[in-house]
């Protein structure tokens, strides 16, 4: 009925909708900061700092943090410490992740490998990796290697699980079609399994990265020559709420940034999906 057509509001244009989305997003962000500010008001200064105070601490201590000199970290600021964390993270993730992907995809199709890999991976879940942290400290000492090993181990285990599942989740029709063209296992792995499972594998990599940030930071808090975790430890000992929040904030920002980077990168690689 014509009357109904006139009564309905006009459909928002694409730009209107986009502007609307940005508005709500900004409002949401302000809401977060507002809640933070309220918490800072409600709690004593020794326990909480306002967003502004935290931001100021972060800015001031980014290049050089005089407070941290006492803790044997040298003349560094939050930025340089974060770089140490990031470097360990990238190396561990790259090495462990690659290993995990290869093993995971292969064991999805090779039963013998699967039977060996599954029990090991199941045992080496997240909990054992965490308890391995103090163990590695005892064995390998306070060195970057300890943290990198931890991250690599975790990444490998996670990526085996994700890759196995990704390969399993791939519609078997694709592989069957490939076999009718005479493709053997090698060709199927290369042309079907890996490219087909790649979106889910890369998704798993993003998730692994997010947790790896926490793992690396945790390992540093336990014992490391450098890293943002060491800053967190130091600032906790000093009961410095603003500094502590600043370090946590910088880790959060870095985690979000690296996540967005991977999202863009992986989106480009799997733009066919």
């Amino acid at each position: 009925m014509r009357r109904d057509a006139a009564a309905r509001p006009p459909l928002a244009s694409r730009w209107q909708r986009r502007g609307n989305a940005i508005l709500v997003g900004v409002a949401g962000l302000l809401l977060f900061l507002f809640a933070w500010q309220l918490a800072a008001r409600a709690l004593p200064a020794s326990r909480m700092a306002s967003p502004l105070t935290t931001a100021r601490d972060l800015a001031v201590n980014f290049v050089v943090a005089p407070r941290l000199r006492v803790f044997g970290l040298g003349r560094v600021g939050y930025g340089e410490l974060l770089l140490y964390t990031l470097r360990n993270l990238v190396v561990g993730l790259a090495v462990g992740g690659t290993l995990g992907i290869v093993i995971g995809v292969a064991s999805a199709r090779l039963r013998l490998l699967r039977v060996l890999v599954d029990p090991i991976v199941l045992v080496l879940g997240t909990v054992p990796v965490l308890v391995a942290a103090p163990l590695f400290l005892l064995w390998f000492g306070v060195a970057p290697f300890t943290q990198v090993l931890l991250v690599a181990l975790y990444s490998a285990v996670m990526m085996v699980l994700f890759s196995e599942r990704a390969a399993e989740n791939l519609d078997p029709t694709y592989e069957r079609w490939a076999t009718t063209f005479g493709a053997g296992l090698g060709a199927r792995l290369r042309f079907v399994l890996i490219p087909g499972a790649l979106p889910e594998i890369l998704g798993g990599l993003r998730i692994t990265l997010a947790s790896a940030w926490g793992l690396e930071t945790f390992a540093e808090i336990l014992g490391a020559p450098s890293g943002i975790g060491q800053a967190i430890k130091a600032l906790t000992n000093l009961n410095n709420a603003a500094g502590l929040l600043a370090c946590v904030a910088i880790v959060a920002i870095a985690a979000i940034a690296t996540d967005m980077l991977l999202l863009a990168l992986f989106g480009r690689i799997t733009r066919w999906a």
């Binding site: 694709y174 069957r176 079609w177 009718t180 063209f181 005479g182 042309f191 490219p195 087909g196 066919w272």
Partner: protein, 258 residues
């Protein structure tokens, strides 16, 4: 493509094919019950039957994708032990690889065979022209409609030029118009290539439109095996002829619709 000099030698022969499935609740299903069949080169056989009566199992057994408990399948004189490049398959579900462009999909079989890039892409583009998809050679499958993806699948299978073509309800999910168009495409390609085609369908009209021979599968066994003596290329009028109608009624009866 010529298959041997002696044209009365069957290109495909099945002997005593039997297979049972065990359902989740433990009960047995007799998917194939002592099926024997000879297929001559150049035939277009439509395998008709109700859902769950064994037509897909039969096709998969011939394709080598489904091992059977008893019986033998011979293709081109050789026993079938698994999938092979002598039997091309068009699946019911979307099998076109989403991560390859259209032309790469069509060239896939050739790549497995070891052809160089320029050669295989050239052949692929030829096939795409034959199914009318030249314009989307570089597109991603995601960007195509279901009907266009079906054409890509057809082009891919024809690109490797297998003597036998197996199709499992390839047009089942398409709308009527697209289905009719693709039937015409497939028929044209078959006619020009001289391949032997086994085409599974549950659509009586489709079977009558395409087949030189119709086989009805019921409860895992062959319930009917008729030549379709209607002129080729077929029109709707041919189907409405007395012969066509008689055949139609026969098939509908087998399907339980009359």
């Amino acid at each position: 493509m010529n298959v041997g000099v002696n044209t009365t030698e069957p290109v495909l022969s099945l002997r005593g094919l039997s297979h049972r499935f065990v359902r989740n609740d433990g009960s047995e299903v007799r998917a194939l019950d002592d099926v024997s069949l000879d297929v001559l080169p150049g035939e277009f056989i439509c395998i008709l039957g109700r859902s769950g009566h064994g037509k897909t199992t039969l096709l998969n057994a011939i394709a080598g994708l489904q091992p059977v408990e008893r019986g033998e399948v011979h293709a081109l004189g050789r026993p079938v032990r698994g999938p092979g490049t002598d039997r091309g398959v068009i699946f019911q579900r979307d099998s076109v690889f989403p991560w390859m462009r259209v032309e790469e999909n069509v060239a896939f079989g050739l790549r497995v065979r070891g052809l160089k890039r320029r050669e295989r892409l050239g052949l692929a583009r030829e096939q795409l022209a034959r199914v009318g998809l030249s314009a989307v050679a570089r597109a991603w499958p995601r960007e195509l409609s279901g009907g266009m993806r079906a054409r890509v699948a057809i082009a891919a299978v024809f690109a490797t030029d297998p003597p036998i073509l197996l199709a499992d309800e390839p047009f089942g999910t398409l709308d009527y118009v697209t289905k009719r168009q693709l039937q015409a495409v497939l028929r044209e390609l078959w006619h020009r290539s001289g391949k032997t085609v086994l085409f599974v369908t549950h659509d009586v009209e489709e079977a009558l439109m395409l087949g030189t021979r119709v086989i009805v599968v019921g409860n895992g066994a062959i319930a009917e095996d008729r030549a379709v003596d209607l002129p080729m290329p077929r029109t709707d009028d041919d189907l409405a002829s007395p012969q066509g109608l008689a055949l139609r009624h026969l098939l509908l009866r087998h399907m339980g619709l009359e």
